[in-house]
C-alpha cells in the first residue's frame, strides 16, 4: 500500500485541510491578475509588487554574487574557523541574499527516536560533475528508523553470499532512482542498509558482506573511493535531538540554517541518491553539497562530534550557498535565547545578532 489514509492522524490532516480549502477565497482576483498580466500590464498597485520583486531578484542576485566575489580579497570564506557550538547564525546574510535579507522564522525544538540510533560509514569518488561513485552504510538501525530513511520502491531480490542473507533493492526507473540499496539483518533485531551509486553489483555485495561480517566496509571499498564518514558518525542517538533553525528570506530567495545537536548526517544517505551531489570542504570539515529538489540545494557537514549543520536555499547559486555555509558562525547561548524570544526578528528585524563570533 502506498500510504495508510485511515489512521486518526491522516483523518485529522484531512479535516484541517478541508477547513483550509473551505475558507480560502475563490481565486477571482488571481484570474483578473493573470488576465491582465497576459494581456495589458497589471493595474492594481497591490498586485504589482511581485513583478517588481521579480525584476529586482536578478539585480539582487547579481549584487550578491559581486559581494561574494569581492569578499576577503578573493580568499574563500571557508578560511575562517567553523562553528563548534549548536547556536549558530549566518555571519552575513545580506552578502548572500541581498540588502533586504531578514530573518523570517527561527525555532528550537527537540525530538527523539525511541528506537535508538545507528552508525553510518560513507565513501565516495568524485568527478567534475558530482559523485561518480559513492556508498553509505547505516548499521544498527531499527526497522522503524529505516522506514523513514529508505525508499525501497523498486523490485527486490534475496541473495545469499558468504553465509549472509541480503535483500537487494534494484534501481527504480519510475522513481528516477539511480541507486542500489541492500538490506540485511544484524544483531539484536537491528537492520543494516547500504546505499550505493556508480558501483558494480559485485562491489556492492562485497561491501555489504564485509560490513555484515567485520563491521566495517574499509577493506572492501574499491580503490579510489575516499572516506567521507568512516564509522564514527552516529545517527539519531536515543538521547534525542535538538533542532535549531533560522530562516533568512529576501526577494532573491531564502537560506535555511539548521543546527542539529545530537544528530549526525543521516541526510547524507539521501544525498547519495543524487548524481549531482558532491563533496565540499566547509572550513576544514567534509561536507556534501546536493540538490534537494526544485531549485533548492543544501550543504550538510558536521563538527566531527555530535553537531551537524545544514544550510538549505532556494534561488541562490550553489557558490553563494557554499559561501553561506562557510560563513556560519556561533553565538552564545544567551544570544540565541534572545534571538528566538524576540518576535521582532521574524517580522523584519535585523538579520543576525551583532555580536562577534566566538569561534
Amino acid at each position: 500500500m502506498d500510504v495508510d489514509r485511515s489512521t486518526p492522524e491522516a483523518l485529522a490532516f484531512r479535516r484541517v485541510y478541508q477547513l483550509v480549502a473551505d475558507r480560502t477565497a475563490p481565486a477571482r482576483e488571481l484570474e483578473e491578475l493573470t488576465s491582465s498580466t497576459l494581456g495589458p500590464p497589471p493595474r492594481s498597485p497591490r498586485r504589482a509588487w511581485p513583478a517588481a520583486v521579480a525584476a529586482a531578484a536578478l539585480v539582487l542576485a547579481l549584487v550578491g554574487v559581486s559581494t561574494l566575489a569581492l569578499r576577503g580579497d578573493g580568499q574563500p570564506m571557508g578560511e575562517q574557523a567553523g562553528p563548534t557550538s549548536p547556536f549558530v547564525v549566518m555571519a552575513d546574510p545580506a552578502g548572500v541574499l541581498g540588502p533586504d535579507a531578514r530573518i523570517t522564522a527561527k525555532s528550537e525544538s527537540s525530538d527523539a527516536f525511541a528506537d535508538g540510533g545507528a552508525e553510518m560509514q560513507m565513501w565516495a569518488r568524485e568527478s567534475e560533475t558530482g559523485l561518480e561513485q559513492a556508498v553509505a552504510v547505516v548499521t544498527g538501525a531499527s526497522d522503524d528508523y529505516l522506514s523513514e530513511v529508505a525508499d525501497f520502491a523498486g523490485p527486490s531480490e534475496t541473495i545469499e553470499r558468504n553465509g549472509v542473507t541480503l535483500t537487494r533493492f534494484l534501481p527504480d526507473p519510475q522513481s528516477g532512482s539511480e541507486t542500489t540499496e541492500v538490506q540485511w539483518q544484524g544483531g539484536a533485531g537491528s537492520t543494516s542498509l547500504l546505499i550505493a551509486r556508480g558501483l558494480s553489483d559485485d562491489a556492492v555485495l562485497e561491501i555489504a558482506v564485509a560490513v555484515a561480517l567485520d563491521g566495517t566496509a574499509a577493506g572492501a571499498v574499491p580503490d579510489g573511493l575516499e572516506p567521507v564518514y568512516d564509522g564514527d558518525q552516529m545517527l539519531a542517538p536515543p538521547a534525542g535531538v535538538i533542532l535549531r533553525e533560522v530562516v533568512y528570506g529576501a526577494a532573491a530567495g531564502y537560506v535555511d540554517l539548521f543546527s542539529f545537536e545530537g544528530w549526525a548526517p543521516d541526510q547524507v544517505g539521501f544525498l547519495l541518491r543524487s548524481g549531482e551531489a558532491r563533496r565540499v570542504d566547509v572550513n576544514g570539515r567534509p561536507g556534501v553539497l546536493t540538490p534537494t529538489g526544485g531549485s533548492d540545494w543544501a550543504v550538510v557537514w558536521t563538527d566531527g562530534n555530535d553537531l551537524t549543520f545544514a544550510v538549505e536555499s532556494g534561488d541562490v547559486s550553489t557558490e553563494e550557498l557554499l559561501a553561506a555555509a562557510r560563513s556560519v558562525r556561533s553565538i552564545t547561548e544567551a544570544e540565541w535565547d534572545a534571538l528566538v524570544a524576540d518576535p521582532g526578528d521574524a517580522s523584519g528585524g535585523s538579520a543576525a545578532p551583532s555580536s562577534d563570533p566566538i569561534d
Binding site: Y17, A21, T34, P42, A51, A54, A55, E148, F270, G293
Partner: protein, 172 residues
C-alpha cells in the same frame, strides 16, 4: 475531500515553445487549470489570507522569466515554486490564529483548535507533504514530484508530521 486533477491532463502534450511566440492563450489555459489547486495548496502553507499573494507572486515571477507553456511540467513547477515562495516570504510556520479566526465556536465536525494549531504549526514541508498525500489523495511518488523531493523524503515528512500530531490527538 480534495482530489487534485491527475497529471494526465495534457501538460505533457503541450508543445514546448519559446516565450515569444504567442504564449498568451496557452499560459491562460495552464493557469486557469491549476489556479484553484495552487491557491488551496498555498493556503495550507501560509494560511488563507496570504495564499493569493503567494500564488500571484509565483505566477508573475515565472511570467517575468518565461511562459508557462515553455515549461516541461508547468503544474509541478508551479507547485514547487509556491512551496519555495511560501518559505521565502512567510517563514516556515504560520500563526494558526490568523488562519482560522472564527466568530463562532467550531461545530463538532470541525477539528479541535489545538489540532488545527498543531497541523498549521508543522514545518512547511511537512505540511506540504501531508496536504498533498492526505487531503489531495496523491500517491507519495506524485507528491514527491510536485514538491521536487524524493519519495523517501516525503515518507519521512509524513512520518514526522504524524508523530507530531499523534501527541496532540492523544491529548499529550
Amino acid at each position: 475531500m480534495g482530489t487534485l486533477p491527475s497529471e494526465d491532463n495534457g501538460d505533457a502534450m503541450q508543445p514546448i515553445r519559446s516565450p515569444a511566440c504567442g504564449e498568451d492563450v496557452n499560459d491562460s489555459e495552464i493557469y486557469r487549470k491549476h489556479k484553484d489547486d495552487l491557491v488551496r495548496f498555498a493556503a495550507s502553507l501560509v494560511g488563507s489570507d496570504g495564499a493569493e499573494d503567494v500564488v500571484s507572486a509565483v505566477v508573475l515571477r515565472t511570467l517575468a522569466r518565461r511562459s508557462l507553456s515553455s515549461l516541461e511540467e508547468p503544474r509541478a513547477y508551479l507547485f514547487r515554486a509556491v512551496l519555495n515562495q511560501a518559505r521565502s516570504t512567510a517563514g516556515r510556520r504560520t500563526p494558526p490564529a490568523r488562519v482560522f479566526e472564527t466568530p463562532h465556536s467550531p461545530p463538532p465536525s470541525e477539528p479541535r483548535p489545538e489540532v488545527i494549531a498543531a497541523v498549521m504549526g508543522l514545518p512547511l514541508r511537512q505540511r506540504a507533504a501531508t496536504y498533498l498525500v492526505y487531503w489531495a489523495d496523491l500517491s507519495i511518488a506524485e507528491a514527491a514530484r510536485l514538491m521536487g523531493a524524493r519519495p523517501g523524503t516525503v515518507k519521512r515528512y509524513l512520518h514526522l508530521a504524524r508523530r507530531s500530531l499523534k501527541g496532540v490527538l492523544d491529548g499529550r
